[in-house]
Point group: C2
Chain length 148, copies 2
Amino acid sequence: MLRIGKLTDYATVVLAVLADRPGECLSATHVAEATRLEVPTVAKVLKTLAKSGVIDSVRGVNGGYRLAEPADSISVAAIIRAMEGPIALTECGLEPGLCAREQNCNLKGNWKRIGQTIENALESLTLADLAAPQGPGLRLVTDTAPVA
Amino acid sequence: MLRIGKLTDYATVVLAVLADRPGECLSATHVAEATRLEVPTVAKVLKTLAKSGVIDSVRGVNGGYRLAEPADSISVAAIIRAMEGPIALTECGLEPGLCAREQNCNLKGNWKRIGQTIENALESLTLADLAAPQGPGLRLVTDTAPVA
DNA sequence: TTAAAATGATACCAAATTGGTCTTGTTTTT
DNA sequence: AAAAACAAGACCAATTTGGTATCATTTTAA
């Protein structure tokens, strides 16, 4: 199963809550109650998202977190990147030197392209689309330019 | 990093070798030498691929493995499915009942759609494309119908 | 008929990743 | 000054995964 981590899944749920109350500052505790997730887990997710700039954090009493941008400006790709790092299916697609027989391997470049294509698909899908109950215009525009 | 297992990566390398000699029956040992991978690992990959019908196996002396279909008929999606099972990014996208708050979660359906979109993208890419050194027409046609 | 070559099946171990929790420190408001 | 909330990092446990070894079965060829 081509997969992402559970925390990334949680991240979308958490972000959906924030998207529901634009501008408001919600504490980790509040989000945990809304999502039925454990507080420490939610806190971890929120911190990770804040570190990469997807959400803003406000410290002190009545502090909390809020979206850094409107929900329709936050791409699913950005969320996944925030939680999991660069999007690539194989290590080969990331950095050279990890694969022992890199020079004889004619597949590496193609894996990279596949990853980029998927990333493009996720780039054009936003948090607003995800949060919408059965979002009407959930359209995925993917890679367009032939990768020659 | 949105990822697939190492064995799936190996599978593409292994299949590329088989694609290079259409019709010929290559033993696990031979493929291992060609790919510089360990024999037991290659054997495991080949067996998995054979079980799901991507390649055919021939037992006995001079036996081995060969592609079940022409390389341009074997999709990357089929390879990934053979090695990893159903393509889905989250458990929610697979079977209901795994998520505690499934009924209050408005994201589930959308995750499933994202997974299907990616699967479509991988469906239209074949082993022949992967094996081609710098394949000219590496085009990915993805989900087309708006997911309303 | 027998031996060798090859796959089939299974079990097992070790290591890496991940999910989850806890503790301590810092900031800001009241 | 105290309380509320985030920040940072250490830590542990469990699942998964990669990799290896063992034994059985099939088929060809001498």
